[in-house]
Symmetry: C2
DNA sequence: GTAAATGCAAATTATTTGCATCTTA
DNA sequence: TAAGATGCAAATAATTTGCATTTAC
């Protein structure tokens, strides 16, 4: 009844965008891979498996649209590729990432640790925070234990 | 005697890299624009003004090298362009950015606000933090006052 | 029926690489 | 003088765009 897919569909129709099978297939792939950080190419390959006639440009356009609707978050870990994460409606802001420089794994932290800092920014800098992004680079648990 | 330029030169020679006029010119440009967030293209244009025979590829190679030496920090604000900031030896970690979504300005915060969080990460997640990155998106003081 | 969306191919943008030539240590 | 660095042009990679055709509303 009130699946995430339905909510996203509603967001599209409410804003006057059309509900095409390509868009639905793309959103389904994102939902099935919520915890991966998929690039446009990744999404394309996955959607193409179920919907072979889709074009890469459509995937780019869909991801861009979902990004504008704040359905996905477009992130860039520094390699030249944009990645797209489903945004959870429960999380007002971006989540944080723990990026392992040894094995490349990306772990997520879904708590928001930055609220006190945001208050301070608004007071000390008169900067109104709308969103933030916090990534840590380092060595993950697994790689630390291997290194011993 | 102990200018930043000299220190960077020393870092190059110590690691066995050659001190070419192209590299020096590039570092000088970075020093003269410490607070801008220059793209490789920006750096190229600025260096070319003083050293017209330099090639764009050399600028890319130099910035990459300086990045590996941790002399500059390669950052990506989400538009498709990498930017390069001189790293201050006083700041062990990246500094933070306040990115205004209205006028596009980027202000820097040089304090490190994340040490308590890093401690927590190492204890709760057994993740050894080597570096981090923190950007806030929002509305800057100037744009807030204009909007009133 | 019509505005919006698609697929394809070509264009664009940022960055990297091969290679012949030059330069620093 | 030899390893390393450069400049140029060509190659690559990611993303965007033009346009004729199709489709959702």
């Amino acid at each position: 009844m009130h699946s995430t897919l339905d909510k996203i569909k509603k967001q599209l129709t409410v804003k006057g965008f059309k509900l095409t099978p390509q868009r639905e297939a793309t959103v389904r792939v994102l939902l099935e891979h919520e915890d991966d950080h998929l690039s446009a190419e990744d999404v394309y390959i996955l959607v193409k498996a179920k919907f072979p006639e889709i074009g890469l440009a459509t995937v780019y356009r869909t991801l861009e649209l979902l990004s504008e609707l704040h359905v996905v978050e477009k992130i860039n870990f520094g390699d030249g590729v944009a990645r797209y994460d489903l945004r959870n409606e429960s999380q007002e802001h971006h989540h944080h990432h723990l990026i392992c420089l040894t094995c490349g794994s990306v772990e997520e932290i879904k708590e928001d640790w930055l609220l006190p800092l945001e208050l301070r920014l608004e007071q000390e800098f008169q900067f109104k925070v709308l969103d933030h992004r916090l990534d840590f680079q380092g060595t993950c648990r697994e790689c630390l234990s291997k290194a011993e």
